[in-house]
């Protein structure tokens, strides 16, 4: 399947929408953690399944083990959001979130899911509001903790050949915590989004 790349305007619009959505995610995170959150410039790539791992590894830059949570989003756009958090940062979560109870492995997982859900929810809501597109999202599920990134993204298990990848990352000032949020949309949603972006641009 041949996927036409987005036009300059379409990419610009998507970048801006991602930027706005990330701002809301950052604000949500800052409210929960009570720390200032540093935001990245969103990165947009059209990736093939073959170079997926290389692209994401380069973005995440992780030689160390990571924890990862996935969540589906659906309705006018369908895709999956994956939140990747370096393990050393994940270990800081309980402290950052003022978790006072005893932190066993279930509690750690729960915190991871909560943070991922907060980021994904804010991003999806942000995109949905800005583009006036109906979007919902599923409950988060844990993909892995303490594993190398390659184990999160296994190309042989993916059913698409091309995907649109939107990446943003958020850091907490003065802490190790850093999370990467990866939004993947496969073939048919790439076209659906193209249409939604065109409408959005035309309305301006």
């Amino acid at each position: 399947m041949n996927i036409a790349p987005y036009s300059e305007d379409q990419t610009d619009a998507l970048q801006e929408v991602a930027n706005i959505a990330m701002g809301q995610a950052g604000d949500s995170l800052a409210r929960i953690m009570g720390h200032f959150v540093e935001l990245s410039v969103p990165r947009i790539r059209l990736v093939t399944v073959q170079d997926l791992v290389a692209t994401v590894s380069e973005m995440v830059g992780a030689k160390e083990d990571v924890a990862a949570v996935r969540q589906a989003f659906y309705n006018q756009l369908r895709g999956e959001a994956i939140v990747v958090i370096k393990q050393s940062g994940a270990d800081e979560l309980a402290e950052l979130m003022d978790y006072e109870d005893e932190v066993d492995s279930e509690a750690e997982e729960e915190l991871l899911l909560e943070v991922a859900n907060l980021l994904v929810g804010a991003i999806i809501n942000g995109i949905s509001e800005t583009l006036e597109a109906e979007l919902g999202f599923s409950a988060p599920s844990l993909m892995t903790t303490g594993a190398p990134l390659e184990r999160v993204l296994t190309p042989d298990k993916l059913t698409w050949s091309h995907a649109l990848l939107v990446e943003v990352h958020l850091c907490i000032e003065g802490h190790k915590f850093k999370s990467h949020l990866l939004l993947f949309m496969a073939e048919e949603s790439i076209d659906a989004l193209r249409g939604i972006l065109d409408n959005f641009i035309d309305d301006l």
């Binding site: 949500s28 409210r31 929960i32 006072e100 109870d101 279930e106 509690a107 997982e109 729960e110 899911l113 909560e114 859900n117 907060l118 929810g121 804010a122 809501n125 999202f137 409950a139 988060p140 599920s141 844990l142």
Partner: protein
């Protein structure tokens, strides 16, 4: 035509999921039939009551935070049985076949906004996932059994070569990292080929099984034993200096030699030879440790069998 609002009320009330709603003050404003049936508490007594007054057993601090986050962030939130088995301790529908103590639950917390876009209520949907959780636990058990089986040698029931090598590799890494002692024993049944030739392969298998059993019985709790090849076994001894390895070798040697192995009507005297190697700075990898233990085993064979020898590193001088 059904009256639509009435229809919706009916569905919310009777659907096979728990639905309840709380306001900003944690007061219960909706409590459907599923919640009534499973909690045994009627909505008439619960409406307008504080959720935590009505159910003091709820994890108050955690749940308050969770609910408040929905109000603040205007975002859906979720809980899963995998991290938190249940919110309310409800009986489940598998009292006989269950194997779990109470209903496993997944919950969704939905923000309910007013016209101004502010969250006025949080609506809980509570799903009974007891069946799913039981299947999942059965699957995990099975996976564990399979994993365990794939790590074992079929004949002797000991760890197989792959697994014992993995164990050695990780113990080697640990010894290296923390500068701990680590000993390795390779042992092999003396004249095993003769057993096979003279008594047949079935007898040979029986001898292997018995020897494996006796070796296993002779180990300390922290030692790892595996079948390395045909009649060869590997013992990994974490945090064990040479003296400990020698003591163990002698014990294992005696355990085999002192009593012939019962075979059909009679019994067959069997002995083993053993070689010991030691982790020390400068040993490159675990393969070198195996190689050195193998050399020591060879010397034990050469010098008369039914004994152990220790690998002597070439002296630095």
């Amino acid at each position: 035509m059904a009256d639509t609002p009435q229809l919706l009320d009916f569905i919310v009330d009777r659907t096979h999921a728990g639905i309840f709603v709380v306001d900003r003050d944690m007061r219960i404003v909706l409590w459907n039939q599923f919640m009534e049936v499973h909690s045994g508490r009627k909505r008439d007594e619960l409406l307008d009551q504080d959720l935590f007054d009505a159910f003091p057993e709820l994890p108050r601090k955690w749940l308050t935070r969770k609910i408040n986050n929905v109000f603040i962030l205007k975002n859906f939130s979720f809980t899963s049985w995998e991290q938190r088995p249940y919110l309310f301790k409800f009986p489940h529908n598998r009292p006989v076949t269950g194997g779990v103590d109470c209903m496993r639950q997944d919950c969704t917390l939905m923000p309910v906004k007013n016209d101004a876009g502010e969250v006025e209520y949080v609506c809980f949907t509570l799903f009974d996932v007891t069946d799913t959780s039981i299947y999942q636990m059965q699957l995990e058990d099975l996976t564990k059994q399979l994993r365990d089986a794939s790590n074992r040698d079929g004949l002797t029931g000991l760890h197989n070569r792959r697994f014992i090598e993995e164990t050695l590799a990780s113990e080697f890494a640990r010894a290296q990292r923390h500068d701990h002692a680590l000993s390795l024993i390779i042992t092999d049944i003396d004249h095993f080929k003769r057993v096979n030739d003279e008594h047949g392969h079935l007898a040979g298998d029986e001898v292997l099984r018995r020897v494996a059993q006796r070796l296993n019985d002779g180990l300390r709790i922290s030692d790892h034993l595996g079948r390395y090849g045909g009649e060869e076994f590997l013992v990994v001894l974490p945090e064990t200096p040479l003296e400990g390895a020698e003591t163990l070798c002698e014990r294992l040697r005696q355990a085999i030699a002192e009593e012939p192995i019962p075979l059909g009507d009679g019994a067959l005297p069997v002995s083993i030879s053993l070689g010991i190697s030691q982790f020390r700075p400068g040993v490159r990898n675990y393969e070198q440790l195996i190689e050195e233990a193998d050399q020591a085993l060879y010397r034990a064979k050469e010098t008369g069998r039914n004994r152990y020898t220790i690998f002597q590193p070439p002296s630095a001088a």
